[in-house]
Amino acid sequence: MRKNRILIVEDAPYMREMIIEMLNHAKDRYEVVGFATNGKEAIEKYSELKPDLVTMDLVMEEMDGIQAIRKIKQEAPNALILVITAMDTPENRNMAMEAGADGYLWKPFTINNLLDVLEKMFGKD
């Protein structure tokens, strides 16, 4: 069975590490193929790596997550994007959904929260 390839977009190093740690617990299903620390980098990495799913922080320098989602979705409408953010306001959620996000996970979250949402997103296919 092919592992789902995941790109992590997150400016806080401890967050990247934690997500990698969590995904390590489901090594059989997920593989972290790379990470980016801002929106601009995320677009570049996406083109380069063509991951199955991108976890996307919303508040970053250079380019914010919403813009990055739009760009990625323009290029690859089928790309799965999971927004992971602390700004869990209805406005943010709407903006993310309008930009094309496929899933939404807000901080703080447990390993179970993360794996559940991923399972749901890939399960849709």
Partner: protein, 759 residues
């Protein structure tokens, strides 16, 4: 036989003479008295013996006077055998003058010769005297007067009637030509009808409705008629005829006076044309205060028709509740100004146009629906000799103008800007309340002051220069320092603008001191608002910063659990997770309130089905209340909906229901009731818990308020829950409150409008 018969006749005759009281005597051709009656002797000769008088010439025999027989018609009576008459006065021996009327009656013999004459004397002194008196009176009258006797002959025709008719008395006295100056052919004049004792029907037939019965003299009539043959173009005459009576009441003649009223009539007709022709309401009264004119405009102003009022003295009726003189009446009465002042106070003034006229402005509350303001002018009407013969009054309905004026006055008085009116000579005539407040002077004190007195000395030159040249300057406004009563100085801006149509100017004053203070306050407000925004932004950032570390805490704790752990370690991780969750919830609530305070809360309005929502919330907490063996009863009308933000309504219900579960003892009961109240719904969440002390009830919706600190730990909350609930209810336009009984439980009520409540 014949002789004897004659003798006998004579005897009878003498016997008669001897007893009768009439004054009769008999004379022969020599004018000597043959015999005379007892009356003669008694009246004229104090009972002298008949023999003394007989044989004497008649006047001597009668009165003992030397005969004065010139012009005596007796001789001709003997000649012609016709009755004659003598009327003359005699100076009697007792010194009195008497006037006698003697009728000479011839006595014929068998040959037809007059042998003797009987004289029948009547004393007419009294009649004569009254006739003379009348003549004197009549001749002295300035009013045209005619007197006729019972034979319809003219006896008097005075100088005034001569000049009125152009006929001299010599031409008419003694004739019956009284009709001549007045009518083209012979006909009775009013005096003739009086003498004839004509019935009123005949007078009516002759004069139609131009006559009336005199109210002063019994049996007299007066009439007003036009006589085309008199003067140039005819004359209007007012004539009155009255009977002349003897003491016994017999009519012996009539007196008729004629008054030339042509001028008055013409003036009246001219007046009629004027009064009826003008559009402004007008009426006229005569000297007797009777209304003579009442034009169409005054009819429509007062609602009274001319037929109802002309000829009456009801000029007061439309204006006052009870009879009183109107201005025209006062003019006719030549009332002194003091009386007009007493009646009209300072509402009247002398007319500047018409001499002797007055005008006044007054309010008449009984007129129209809400009363009327009338401007009325009354002027005298004068005859050619300058006498007042009436008055004309014009009225103008100025209610609308007055109302506009009152409106301006009200605005002037109540506008929140100090205002004053300035005369041409720069004195202040009136000020409003705000001006009084600004200046510290009462309006009575301000009146008559020059407005420049309020300018601080150092600014005076600048201000005078500005206003002296203000037409050349762009703005009618000028800033200066204003000195109030206490000498305190304020910065003001004054704009002086002329009022159109007058010489008065209005000055409006802006208190810049006040304005500056307000500006300062606004600046402070702005600053405070900025500070508040900063605080909120800071708190927002702080809450976010607080929350960020929670992510790895929660995340790693969950990772830790994936490893093999001892029981103790499992407990530790459980505690980390539990308190991290509490911290998260608390931070979220604080963030939510910060968002509400910042006005950032958006409402997603939709039709929210209440039964489903209540059911859902109760169900989702079933593990919680099952664990405490509690029962929850719901009573919700089927199908009830409100317009609201579904998530927030769920949050409200969740909060209240969770609280109810928390504070209710194990095995307790919770009731949820929803009531449809038409405009809104009322939801009640009632628990059977510990209850809340009454003094705490009003405060439970405040932020960071907890009833009992010991509960703080137990309920694991900082008390922000209910304040968020309250804000959510308020965002919907509803209310929330609570009642409680210690030890028995609490009831939380909230309302939600069914329709969206904007604002």
């Amino acid at each position: 036989m014949r002789e004897r018969g004659k003798e006998k006749e004579r005897d009878y005759f003498l016997k008669i003479l001897d007893i009768i009281e009439e004054t009769v005597f008999v004379i022969d051709r020599d004018l000597r008295i043959l015999d005379l009656s007892k009356g003669c002797l008694n009246k004229f000769r104090n009972g002298v013996e008949r023999e003394v008088a007989i044989g004497k010439r008649c006047y001597e025999g009668l009165w003992g006077l030397e005969a004065v027989c010139e012009g005596c018609p007796v001789s001709s009576v003997f000649e012609k055998g016709e009755v004659a008459r003598t009327e003359r006065s005699f100076s009697l021996s007792n010194g009195t003058n008497r006037y006698f009327d003697i009728e000479w009656i011839p006595v014929f013999d068998e040959h037809g010769e007059v042998t003797r004459v009987i004289g029948d004397i009547r004393d007419v002194t009294e009649r004569k005297e009254s006739e003379e008196k009348l003549a004197k009176i009549v001749d002295g009258l300035s009013i045209s007067t005619i007197v006729i006797n019972s034979e319809h002959n003219i006896t008097h025709w005075n100088a005034a009637v001569e000049s009125l008719t152009g006929l001299k008395r010599e031409e008419v006295v003694g004739t019956d030509k009284q009709w001549l100056p007045f009518y083209p052919e012979k006909r009775p004049v009013m005096a003739d009808l009086i003498v004839n004792k004509a019935p009123e029907s005949e007078i009516k037939a002759r004069y139609g409705d131009k006559y009336k019965k005199s109210s002063l003299i019994e049996g007299a009539y007066e009439a007003l008629d036009f006589f085309p043959s008199l003067g140039k173009g005819g004359k209007w005459l007012l004539f009155t005829a009255a009977p002349l009576r003897e003491p016994n009441g017999n009519i012996v003649g009539a007196i008729e006076t004629l008054q030339d009223v042509t001028e008055r009539k013409n003036a009246e007709e001219k007046l009629t044309k004027i009064v009826d022709g003008v559009n402004i309401p007008a009426f006229a009264i005569n000297k007797e205060h009777k209304i003579t004119h009442w034009n169409t405009a005054v009819e429509s102003l007062t609602g009274l028709k001319r037929e109802e009022v002309v000829g009456t003295d009801k000029q007061w009726l439309p204006f006052y509740l009870e009879k009183r003189p109107v201005m025209a009446d006062l003019i006719v009465d030549k009332a002194p100004e003091s009386e007009i002042k007493a009646r009209y106070g300072d509402k009247y003034k002398k007319s500047s146009l018409i001499e002797g006229a007055y005008e006044a402005l007054d309010f008449f509350p009984t007129m129209g629906e809400e009363g009327k303001w009338l401007l009325f002018t009354a002027a005298p009407l004068k005859g050619s000799n300058g006498d007042i013969i009436g008055a004309i009054e014009t009225l103008q309905d100025v209610t609308e103008r007055k109302n506009a004026e009152e409106q301006s006055k009200t605005i002037f008085e109540h506008v929140r800007t100090p205002l004053c009116l300035i005369e041409e000579d720069e004195t202040i005539t009136s000020v409003n309340k705000e001006f009084e407040a600004l200046s510290g002077y009462s309006r009575e004190e301000v009146g008559g002051k020059k407005w420049t007195e309020f300018v601080a000395p150092e600014d005076l030159e600048k201000v005078i220069n500005h206003y002296y040249n203000w037409k050349k300057v762009e703005s009618p406004c000028c800033d200066f320092k204003f000195v109030d009563r206490d000498g305190e100085i304020r910065d003001v801006k004054v704009c002086i603008v002329p009022i159109p149509g007058g010489k008065i100017k209005v000055a409006s004053i802006t208190d810049l001191t006040q304005l500056k203070r307000e500006e300062e306050l606004c600046a402070i407000c702005e600053e405070l608002k900025e500070l508040d925004d900063m605080k909120r932004n800071f708190l927002n950032a702080a809450y976010h910063e607080l929350r960020s570390p929670l992510t790895p805490i929660v995340g790693y704790a969950s990772l830790l659990k994936c490893d093999e752990l001892g029981d103790k370690q499992k407990d530790y991780v459980h505690n980390i997770e539990k308190y991290a969750e509490q911290l998260r919830a608390q931070i979220n609530r604080m963030l939510e309130l910060a968002r509400i305070d910042g006005g950032e809360m958006e409402m997603t309005m939709e039709d929210v089905p209440i039964p489903e929502i209540v059911e859902g919330v109760v169900k989702s907490f079933k593990p919680l209340w099952n664990e405490k063996e509690q029962t929850i009863n719901t009573l919700v009308p089927e199908g009830i909906e409100v317009r609201g933000d579904k998530l927030k309504i769920i949050a409200i219900l969740t909060n209240l229901i969770v609280n109810a579960i928390k504070y209710t003892y194990e095995g307790g009961r919770i009731n949820i009731m929803v009531e449809d109240r038409g405009e809104d719904i009322r939801v009640c969440v009632a628990d059977t818990g510990i209850g809340i002390p009454e003094k705490h009830l009003p405060k439970i919706f405040e932020r960071f308020y907890m009833v009992n600190t010991s509960l703080t730990r137990k309920s694991e909350s900082l008390g922000l829950g209910l304040s968020i609930v309250k804000e959510y209810v308020k965002l919907h336009g509803g209310h929330i409150w609570a009642t409680s009984e210690l030890g028995k439980g609490s009831k939380f009520f909230f309302t939600l409008p069914k329709k969206e409540n904007k604002g």
